[in-house]
């Protein structure tokens, strides 16, 4: 890195982790191969040497036990960060996340808080086939008691972890594998960011395109193509998947009167479905066209590159969806 302010998403997450570990003695990181190996996606490279095996804790392949241990450690006064290698693997820890992390405060009548941060990789694009590539964020976004965020930018990759660690409740952070090599500017004094609000990444008057995580670069690319045709898309990055920032979404739709929802999850019961329902409930009469969804094709993600790419939302499809909602303009 010649310019210290240009970093990759991966480096931004690593800087956030290192910063948290330096700032707060109660913070430790645990997960599969986060230590000596340096992290499956190389996110934690170097942290083991700096912070040692107690605070950068390699775990056995026991997702349920180490996620549950994170819950218990959080209850016991620590601020654990648990890394799960991928969202597909997190299903082995669903019991702990859904039955414990999300419920303990409630079941205990408010006595027990679980200030735990769980980071996991999500999404397709690396030809890792049908057990490493899915986008199951909505499974967690369904559950009261959890907060779910998806940093899509360098600044959010750097800043969301800080805020998540200060949260008194469990926060799940989804890092899309397609973003790790993205580069961008990061202010030297980058600090915590609000994790409860969506962000307008591009202003526009004609159509609102709502997305999050790994689909944001695709939507921005589509928006640039649309601009060449004289269509100005307003791009909203959800950032927080639970809770959803209805106010930011509806304010934009009331301005543009059109909505396209781009979500790498499968269409059925997707986040896009939820947002669509909220638009019907909250601003049906502001809409000049039906809400359109651009989601993954309903197939387990296939291995060959051309089929994998065909299964995912792509800029061309987003452009086509916007043109459709604009009445073929």
């Amino acid at each position: 890195m010649t310019d210290p302010t240009i970093v990759t998403y991966r480096e931004a997450v690593r800087a956030a982790l290192a910063d948290a570990l330096r700032r707060d003695e109660r913070v430790f990181l645990m997960g599969e191969d986060v230590g000596k190996y340096g992290g499956t996606y190389a996110v934690t490279h170097g942290l083991y040497d700096e912070f040692g095996p107690e605070r950068i804790r390699d775990t056995p392949l026991s997702e349920s036990a180490f996620v549950g241990a994170g819950i218990g450690a959080a209850m016991g006064g620590m601020r654990p960060i648990v890394e799960i290698m991928s969202v597909n693997f997190s299903l082995l820890a669903l019991d702990q996340i859904v039955n414990n992390a999300a419920t303990l405060r409630h079941m205990s009548g408010g006595q027990v808080g679980v200030p735990l941060v769980i980071r996991m990789a999500t999404g397709a694009g690396a030809q890792l086939a049908a057990q490493h590539s899915h986008s199951l964020e909505v499974w967690y976004a369904h559950v009261p008691g959890l907060k779910v965020v998806a940093p899509a930018t360098i600044a959010d990759a750097r800043g969301m972890l800080w805020t998540a660690l200060e949260d008194p409740d469990p926060v799940i952070v989804f890092e899309h594998v397609g973003l790790y090599n993205q580069k961008g500017e990061l202010p030297i004094d980058a600090g915590p960011v609000d994790i409860s609000r969506a962000a307008v990444r591009r202003l526009g008057r004609d159509v609102t395109v709502v997305t999050y995580g790994g689909s944001l670069p695709k939507v921005m690319s589509a928006a640039a193509t649309l601009a060449e045709r004289g269509i100005e898309a307003e791009v909203i990055d959800l950032r927080s998947l639970r809770p959803l920032d209805d106010a930011t979404i509806t304010a934009s739709v009331r301005k543009t009167h059109r909505a396209v929802l781009v979500d790498e999850g499968w269409r059925t019961c997707s986040l896009a479905a939820e947002i669509s329902a909220r638009l019907m409930e909250q601003c049906l009469y502001d809409l000049e066209a039906p809400v359109v969804r651009v989601c993954s094709v309903e197939v387990p993600i296939p291995y060959p590159r051309h089929l994998e790419q065909a299964a995912l939302p792509q800029p061309a499809g987003i452009v086509a969806a916007v043109l459709g909602t604009m009445g073929g303009r």
Partner: protein, 327 residues
């Protein structure tokens, strides 16, 4: 006591504790049929020696994690009978604010972290509580109660391995009552010895007569001292038997009346009372005095629960997230 160190006073306290649990739950069963208590109600009757024996070996700084058959553990840990009863009524005055019910008793003041109704679901939490204690340099022990059914779960093996690997201060207390709900041990396990499974994960294990409160007390004290001294986790299998149905909806088709009656001859309360009589430590008036005190406590607990308040529906969504949360 088997090692001969227990004096009269602590022995009488153990008897008193077991009677509290027994009479409390007999009352709870009655209140269930009256409709005062709903949901699932899993009675501990027959297994009281374990909670009583273990609790006396713990200090206030220790943590307790339990399963859904936890009334006895909660009472032995010191949560008031009134707070437990009110919880089972679903009243605000309950130890979990009424939100948990019988299966989810909590009291952070007693470091009692549930009341977990997912079999083996509490084990990873116990490991984590112990990890926090180790990080923070506290000399606390986490006592984790589980049933024999939990031994069949993956979380059992994952958690024992983690505790042993990281030498964490957890004592796993396996109440082996021979049935996972209605399925007998030999019908769900090829390896029917839980101690061998614990040892396979690197946790030293010992089988204890869970119907003998002094044996439990002695073994628990030794195991907890070992764990507290930093030697890593320990596993105790406490051989016991559930005298009542699994829950209130169980016709008990899976076991014979003869089997139940045979185990009742080992009732931990009657056998221990008899032993105390033989030692000349208790007579009828002394026993009546304990029963009287227990009856008074249970009556007061029921009155407390009856007089408790229903939470207004307006606060339905409280305690989903922290109050300071903005959403």
């Amino acid at each position: 006591m088997t090692d001969g160190v227990m004096d009269r006073e602590p022995a009488l306290r153990l008897l008193h504790e077991m009677l509290r649990m027994r009479r409390f739950e007999e009352k709870a069963a009655e209140l269930y049929t009256e409709g005062k208590i709903r949901g699932f109600l899993h009675l501990y009757i027959g297994e009281e020696a374990i909670a009583a024996g273990v609790a006396q070996a713990l200090v206030p700084e220790d943590n307790v994690v339990s399963s859904y058959r936890e009334h006895g553990h909660a009472l032995a840990r010191g949560i008031s009978a009134g707070a437990v009863m009110a919880e089972m009524f679903g009243k605000v005055e309950g130890c979990s604010h009424g939100r948990g019910g019988s299966m989810h008793l909590f009291s952070v003041a007693h470091r009692f972290y549930g009341g977990n109704a997912i079999v083996a679901g509490g084990l990873p939490i116990a490991v984590g509580l112990a990890l926090a204690d180790k990080f923070l340099g506290r000399r606390a022990v986490t006592a984790c109660f589980l049933g024999d059914g939990a031994v069949a779960e993956g979380e059992f093996h994952e958690s024992l391995n983690l505790a042993a690997l990281w030498r964490l201060p957890v004592v796993f207390l396996c109440e082996n009552n021979l049935y996972a709900m209605g399925t007998a041990l030999e019908r769900y396990a090829a390896q029917t010895d839980p101690c061998r499974k614990a040892e396979a994960e690197g946790v030293p294990a010992q089988r204890v007569d869970g119907m003998d409160v002094e044996a439990v007390a002695s073994a628990a004290r030794a195991a907890i001292e070992t764990v507290r001294s930093g030697q890593g986790p320990r596993f105790l299998e406490l051989a016991t038997y559930r005298f009542r149905a699994h829950s209130m909806f169980d016709a008990q088709l899976y076991r014979s009346k003869d089997e139940v009656e045979a185990w009742k001859k080992q009732d931990p309360i009657t056998t221990f009372t008899e032993r105390l009589r033989q030692r000349g430590w208790i007579d009828d008036p002394a026993l009546a005095a304990i029963e009287g005190a227990v009856a008074q406590e249970i009556a007061a607990a029921v009155a407390f629960a009856e007089a408790g308040t229903w939470e207004p529906v307006e606060s339905l969504t409280r305690d989903v997230l922290a109050p300071e949360s903005t959403t």
